[in-house]
């Protein structure tokens, strides 16, 4: 097997010394973590390694020697000295990595490799350069470990290149030591330049504990008020389950309690989720405040309130025109005149009721709208859900028409289907849930056929009313659905993860990619290992927040089937208990 040496790019210009790292025997690869410079005392190097080993639970060792010759010819004495070091730090295999002639030529020898004596003598060596910073900070998203974020806890479970990532992450203590610190052991490795605005970060860390405690206390008070018995009386839970504002407020409350819970996030995935929730909340409130400022600056609320009643009147008038058109001969169709008149008058009476209701409401509209506008400071999503609820309330007459039409149509379709079975001498057996043949009497058949004929001739009239009102209803549902889509988008967008992917692509790693650096015959092959960032679609898939779920998950075919059979469609979620 080829011996692989993972070498950090930041150590390529380091002075000669010892290679410190971990040997992974299953893959025959050596992960170099740092270079120890001359002069050093061997016992102190061993002590340092033992300390890091204890902290990170990773087996570190001195893997070999590193020789960097800046001069043209390598010194003879140094080479012999480096060979001699192998006697002090025993390791199998003992690596001798050398960079010569101004840094252009690399050579690597592995003494004591391959382990088995029978194998052909000089085994090929591969030098793989990696960026220590990227590998340390990145979070590997392999498809296998995605559903189980705790898989990284057990060291033997990681295999392949994940072992390299794991080794670098576990020996973080090694990277803490400062380059300029005059300690007993001088190391060369990647060094963090400190966090940007670290004073602010520290202050925020100090402040976050008490703030979280206080806010979580307030939130628990709020949820205790919400849970009191007054709100459990009959009509309130029913109304709350139908209003999307309540759903959205509950969703946001859950987010807040999750965010300010005093427990620490256990895994990086959960931490990422917390930050995502925080940024989603922040975006929501910022958009809401912007909306509020815009509404106030333009005095939109007054204009809206003034415009609302004329618009409602206009809609009602259009509906009246539509009904009168339907009561005549719509599109040249000849309808059943008596049924047509009855239905038309019934719906006209409804519109009359509706208009009087709107006029009764008109003095209070401006106040209501103003409070809706104020709710935008709770977040844009709350304001949007309120808007959706207001649309639902303002188009209540359309909903009523739709329900009447759908019920009539449903009745008619069911009657027709059962009479059609009678027509063929069959019937529906309830006990066996199937269609059985049945012999009817003559008068039964006569009455059934008569009813069937009547229903067939009345069907076009009712179907037309149903069609027109269903189209109106679908229009309203489409508007509400698009509002809910927007709300879901704001609710579930993982803003922080997407930003991280945009600005620091190496933080979210899907894997690695290799690039072949130049290769000369007789010298080890040199590869550059880079982080392969996660694609945007996978970032969104992995980190998207659970949405509120007030949308029905209806497929198109199911929707069409429901429409054809006259079953009611709702913009909100049906009770799940019905299916169970």
């Amino acid at each position: 097997m080829v011996l692989k040496v993972f070498f950090p790019t930041c150590c390529t210009s380091a002075e000669s010394g010892l290679l410190v790292g971990r040997w992974v025997p299953e893959q025959s690869s050596a992960v170099v973590l740092a270079v120890v410079h001359f002069p050093f005392i061997p016992i102190q190097v061993k002590e340092l390694l033992a300390r890091v080993q204890q902290a990170g639970r990773v087996g570190l060792a001195v893997l070999g020697t590193w020789c960097h010759c800046r001069l043209q010819e390598p010194e003879e004495g140094l080479g012999r000295f480096l060979e001699g070091l192998g006697a002090i730090f025993t390791h199998e295999p003992w690596l001798q990595l050398c960079r010569e002639r101004g840094g252009s030529v690399w050579s690597c020898k592995a003494l004591g490799w391959p382990m088995s004596p029978g194998a052909p003598s000089p085994a090929p060596v591969m030098l793989i350069f990696y960026d220590q910073r990227h590998v340390l900070l990145s979070q590997l998203h392999t498809p296998a470990t995605l559903p189980d974020p705790q898989a990284g806890d057990a060291p033997p479970s990681v295999g392949g290149l994940a072992a390299v990532f794991d080794t670098v992450a576990r020996s973080e203590l090694l990277f803490r030591s400062d380059r300029f610190h005059e300690g007993p052991v001088q190391l060369s490795h990647w060094q963090s330049e400190g966090i940007e605005a670290s004073i602010l970060v520290e202050l925020a860390k100090q402040a976050s504990g008490p703030t979280c405690l206080m806010l979580s206390f307030l939130l628990s008070l709020l949820s205790a008020v919400g849970a009191c018995r007054l709100f459990r009386l009959w009509p309130l839970p029913f109304i709350c389950s139908k209003l999307s504002t309540c759903e959205q407020a509950r969703h946001r409350l859950g987010h807040l309690t999750f965010l300010f819970s005093p427990r620490k996030a256990e895994s990086p995935v959960q931490l990422m989720r917390k930050v995502n929730v925080f940024f989603s909340l922040l975006l929501d409130v910022a958009l809401g405040l912007a909306l509020l400022a815009w509404l106030r600056a333009e005095n939109c609320i007054g204009q809206l309130a003034d415009a609302l009643v004329p618009v409602a009147d206009c809609v009602a008038e259009e509906l009246q025109h539509l009904l009168q058109w339907l009561m005549g001969a719509p599109a040249g169709l000849k309808m059943n005149r008596a049924l047509d008149q009855v239905l038309g008058r019934f719906f006209l009476y409804h519109i009359h009721l509706w208009i009087s209701y709107i006029h009764l409401m008109s003095p209070f509209v401006e106040g209501i709208l103003w409070h809706v506008g104020l709710s935008a400071c709770l977040g844009l999503t709350v304001a949007l859900s309120l808007l959706s609820d207001i649309i639902a309330l303002l188009t209540f007459h359309i909903y009523c028409f739709y329900v009447y039409g759908a019920r009539l149509y449903c009745l008619k379709i069911h009657g027709l289907s059962s009479l059609w079975r009678l027509f063929r001498g069959k019937k529906w057996n309830v006990l066996r849930q199937r269609v059985d043949s049945c012999s009817y009497d003559l008068d039964q058949l006569f009455i059934g056929t008569l009813l069937f004929t009547i229903l067939v001739f009345l069907l076009p009239t009712i179907a037309l009313y149903y069609l027109v009102f269903t189209l109106l209803r679908l229009l309203v549902v489409a508007v509400q659905g698009s509002l809910h889509l927007l709300i879901d988008l704001i609710n579930s967008l993982p803003l922080y993860s997407v930003g991280l992917r945009l600005c620091r692509p190496y933080r979210l790693a899907a894997g690695v990619k290799f690039r072949v650096l130049d290769h000369e015959a007789g010298k080890p092959l040199r590869l550059l290992m880079q982080i392969n960032p996660l694609s945007y679609s996978r970032v969104v898939c992995t980190y998207r927040l659970p949405s509120c779920g007030c949308r029905p998950r209806l497929s198109w075919s199911a929707l069409c089937r429901k429409l054809f059979f006259g079953e009611l469609i709702y913009p909100w979620r049906q009770k799940a208990g019905k299916q169970d």
Binding site: V2, P124, F514, V516, N532
Partner: protein, 188 residues
């Protein structure tokens, strides 16, 4: 060591196969498709603009013309960035893995790296594509739960679709490396 040979894809188009042998344990195969030709680009642009101009004379609305320009520009950008693949590369490194890279015409590269521990074998497979039978190279991945099972089949050179003679060339080289791996992993 590097050489280049010309093959043809399943439709008879020209494909250039570059082979680079970096070392006995590392080989790279690079299949380049022909670049976007000026003729087809001109034809598409002209047809879109002529259609827009016809609509403009019909409706006398200049929005149509600006919309046509935007559609052409965005379409071209999207085509170069997401659809048109110029080069597909297969890099096989002994005891490390197989890397598949496809570079788009805009310079975007999408890379997948498969670790050698997961690779079961590389084979040439037959498939029915439209009305003809084609051959394609694919990598079989091991099932982690079941040692003899196959969890996934990853097709290689999906965009270029080279003919069998080119595939055999690549296949032989890959098999040499895989055989070398098997020989060394079983001996100790």
């Amino acid at each position: 060591m590097e050489d280049e040979r010309v093959f043809s894809d399943i439709c008879g188009g020209r494909l250039a196969l570059q082979r680079r042998h970096y070392s006995p344990s590392c080989r790279e195969f690079c299949l380049s498709c022909p670049r976007l030709s000026l003729r087809s680009l001109t034809a598409v642009t002209c047809s879109v603009w002529l259609a827009a101009y016809a609509l403009f004379t019909l409706f006398e609305n200049s929005v149509i013309l600006s919309a046509a320009i935007f559609i052409t520009l965005l379409g071209l950008l999207g085509y170069l960035h997401f659809v048109k693949i110029d080069q597909e590369t297969l890099l096989i490194i002994d005891s490390l893995g197989i890397q598949l890279t496809s570079s788009y015409a805009s310079g975007k590269e999408s890379t997948t790296f498969i670790e050698m521990g997961k690779v079961k074998d590389i084979i040439i497979n037959e498939a029915i594509y439209m009305q003809k039978v084609i051959y394609y190279l694919c990598i079989l991945l091991k099932d982690p739960l079941e040692p003899h099972g196959i969890s996934q089949v990853v097709p290689v050179f999906q965009n270029a679709k080279p003919r069998l003679d080119c595939l055999i060339e690549v296949y032989r080289s890959c098999q040499e490396i895989l055989a070398h791996r098997k020989a060394t992993s079983t001996s100790p």
